[in-house]
């Protein structure tokens, strides 16, 4: 047996599994996105029409889709940097030799990640409550007028961002913490001997040391945040005035609430293309940074 054939044989199981459970369903979904598959088609295949790219065409003309897309971008642009920034700060804090009870804080910061969102949502709904909420109470102490977090279309998305960042920063913190502990101690010692300030140490040792991991974390966060769904689902049902409707939520409603599976598949593909482009951009930027 030639070496090449042996190699193929070895990867055959993985390829088979991939083909069966990934490429085949994706191809199926793509074909479905070219039809008007719905409840009627489920009962009788004669009710299925091949519509070509019409699903895509009507979607791109649907103001609600654009609104969902805009909301999702808003969420990602606001939420992802905040989330990564907070993760980094938290990681630096629990990694600092000056801090006490580091294990305790590590656990506390990580706790939101492992809690169930639905249970947490009940608590957060009270925190955001316009009249009895803790957040408005705290803001009132510094003289801020009460904000109708869940009822005002301008504030609902920031509220969702706060919840999502709180829920997720612990996960990235753990990854960044591991990376921080991998930066050789000698570098910091050398910097100290050279008389570098704390900021200089951070800028020229910590950040480059974290480089690849930061890129990974930012890609993971971005991809995750583009798939915003559960937070608006449990907090606002996409409202008020659809200001928290995300692309994924839009897809869920099309597909599983209204059974327009053709349209829902088209949404899935558009989201896939979008995330693909964004990730490519990120990788390119990351590579340029690494070279610089």
């Amino acid at each position: 047996m030639s070496l090449e054939r042996a190699a193929w044989l070895f990867i055959a199981p993985a390829l088979l599994a991939l083909g069966l459970f990934f490429f085949l369903p994706v191809a199926g979904a793509f074909i479905m996105s070219l039809t008007d598959f719905d409840l009627y088609a489920l009962s009788d295949r004669a009710n299925l029409r091949f519509v070509g790219l019409r699903n895509y065409y009507t979607l791109l003309q649907d103001p609600l889709f654009w609104k969902a897309l805009g909301n999702t971008f808003y969420f990602v642009v606001l939420g992802a940097p905040l989330s990564i920034g907070l993760s980094l700060v938290a990681a630096l804090l629990v990694n600092s030799k000056l801090a006490r009870f580091r294990a305790l804080f590590r656990t506390i910061f990580f706790a939101p990640v492992v809690t169930t969102l639905v249970a947490v949502a009940v608590v957060w709904r009270y925190i955001f409550h316009a009249r009895y909420g803790f957040l408005n109470f705290a803001l009132a102490q510094i003289g801020v007028e009460p904000i109708d977090w869940m009822g005002d279309p301008r504030w609902a998305m920031p509220a969702i961002v706060i919840l999502a960042v709180w829920k997720n920063f612990g996960y990235n913190m753990i990854i960044l913490l591991a990376a921080l502990q991998n930066i050789p101690e000698e570098l910091y010692e050398a910097a100290r001997i050279d008389g570098a300030s704390a900021w200089q140490t951070f800028r020229h040792i910590t950040v480059p040391g974290l480089g690849p991991v930061l890129l990974l974390v930012s890609i993971l966060t971005m991809v995750g945040y583009f798939q915003l769904f559960a937070e608006p689902y449990v907090m606002t049902e996409g409202g008020p005035l659809q200001s928290t409707l995300s692309v994924l939520y839009f897809m869920y409603e099309e597909g599983f609430k209204w059974w327009s599976l053709g349209r829902a598949s088209a949404v899935a593909f558009l989201l896939f293309i979008l995330m693909f482009i964004v990730t490519l951009l990120q990788l390119r930027i990351g590579r340029r940074e690494a070279r610089a």
Partner: protein, 425 residues
């Protein structure tokens, strides 16, 4: 992981095998009955009596949660595993008829000595008829009407609740004056389409044109309903809020944050349980006021249906008959608080004694069904969103109804195509 799962699988298989052996001795025919939510939990109790009366039948009751019932039923339909008898929400009948899953019941219902259809509230029997054919027997009924704070209304200077829209508005304004700027007169949650739907159904004009082919929200009637609905927000009688923002509707009702609330029978038990004793005499229910006198409301609730795919239709019908008997329905009310669909069943002492149920008894005679097309729920959702835009001041009433008709026409495109094809052949 895999091995562990396989072990569990084997164990489960063994358990099923053992159960199978037991079934060999048990020669009874099995009727599979799916019920949803709390009704599912309580159905088991009613079924036990049925099994005692019919020794040759065993009933296998499955409980579905409300949130997943619709998906589960459609999945079962796609997979060919639908049960024999099932509890189905009235608004889903059209949908399951469209996919040809339901067995017509006219014949059985007419031949039966138990299900005398003229004993049922007419609006709910109608809700189960699609194009003249009966597909379900009402099991329990549900409609929306006004819950109100008697004490606050009296304080505002009114001894009796409203019967017409004008009276209603006057009372709302007086209550609002009484409670001040921080509180409101009525709660119309922006994430519920039912309150607006009730007002729209009261107009008597159809909400869809043709054979449910086009939207008719531009009609004068719907505009009137939407304008009235909106005026309650414009005049600050209702807060621009959703239910999730309120957090606890019962508590806020008790605090007088709002004095009127359009809701259904399940809230009778909730208010009794959650309001403090000193407020128990302070609240009451009243039939919906209409534009010019007592108004109609929605024909909601759930029915018993038999699926076409069933091989035990006769036995399933026997069970449906059993559950339709007035004394069984009285029992059912005691267990669940679900209101019976038959006038005779309402003579049960518990129901006759409940002062809060009385308004429902009156309202049940005056109900109308929303349009019976499978797409209705989606259209109702669009209606809710359009109304929210009007209430939030984004759209005018005229713009909203035009947009709503456009959306509705888009949603019904497939239905029109299918109807055309049907007519052509």
């Amino acid at each position: 992981m895999i091995t562990r799962r396989r072990t569990i699988g084997l164990l489960a298989g063994a358990a099923v095998g053992a159960a199978g052996c037991a079934d060999l001795a048990d020669r009874r025919k099995v009727v599979r009955f799916w019920a949803v939510g709390r009704e599912g939990e309580m159905a088991a109790e009613l079924v036990r009596d049925f099994e005692a009366l019919h020794p040759h039948i065993r009933v296998d009751v499955q409980k579905l949660p409300w949130t997943a019932a619709h998906e589960k039923l459609l999945t079962a339909y796609a997979g060919g595993t639908l049960p024999d008898l099932c509890q189905l929400g009235n608004t889903w009948i059209a949908e399951f008829t469209a996919i040809d899953a339901l067995e017509p019941l006219d014949h059985a219902a007419q031949a039966s000595r138990v299900t005398a259809l003229d004993d049922y509230f007419q609006g709910f029997v109608e809700a189960n008829r699609i194009a003249g054919v009966l597909y379900g027997v009402p099991w329990y009924v549900d409609t929306r009407l006004l819950f109100y704070r008697r004490d606050l209304l009296r304080e505002a200077g009114f001894a009796a609740p409203p019967e017409t829209w004008d009276e209603w508005l006057r009372m709302l304004a007086a209550v609002k004056e009484l409670v001040g700027p921080q509180r409101y007169a009525i709660l119309l949650p922006l994430n519920e389409f039912e309150p607006l739907l009730v007002l729209a159904l009261q107009q008597g004009e159809p909400l869809l044109r043709g054979d449910g082919e086009w939207g008719a929200f531009r009609s004068a009637g719907f505009r009137r309903a939407l304008r009235f609905y909106n005026s309650m927000f414009e005049r600050d009688l209702a807060p621009r809020m959703t239910n999730t923002q309120i957090s606890n509707v019962w508590d806020e009702f008790g605090k007088g944050f709002f004095s009127f609330y359009i809701s259904g029978p399940w809230n009778i038990a909730e208010f009794r349980r959650r309001l403090p004793p000193r407020l128990q005499d302070a609240w009451m229910t009243v039939p919906m006021p209409g534009p010019h006198g007592p108004g109609v409301s929605i024909a909601g609730g759930a029915s018993l249906v038999i699926f076409r795919s069933s091989e035990r239709k006769e036995e399933a019908w026997l069970l449906a008959e059993h559950l339709s008997q007035p004394d069984v329905q009285g029992r059912f009310y005691e267990l669940t608080g679900d209101m019976p669909p038959r006038r005779t069943s309402w003579r049960a002492p518990v129901l006759a004694a409940s002062s809060h149920a009385r308004a429902f008894r009156i309202q049940l005679e005056r109900v109308r069904s929303p349009p019976k097309v499978p797409e209705w729920e989606r259209i109702a959702n669009e209606m809710k969103l359009a109304a929210e835009r009007v209430v939030q001041g984004v759209l005018s009433v005229d713009e909203a109804v035009r947009g709503l008709d456009r959306r509705t026409d888009q949603i019904l495109e497939k239905r029109r195509w299918m109807l055309q094809r049907e007519r052509a052949s």
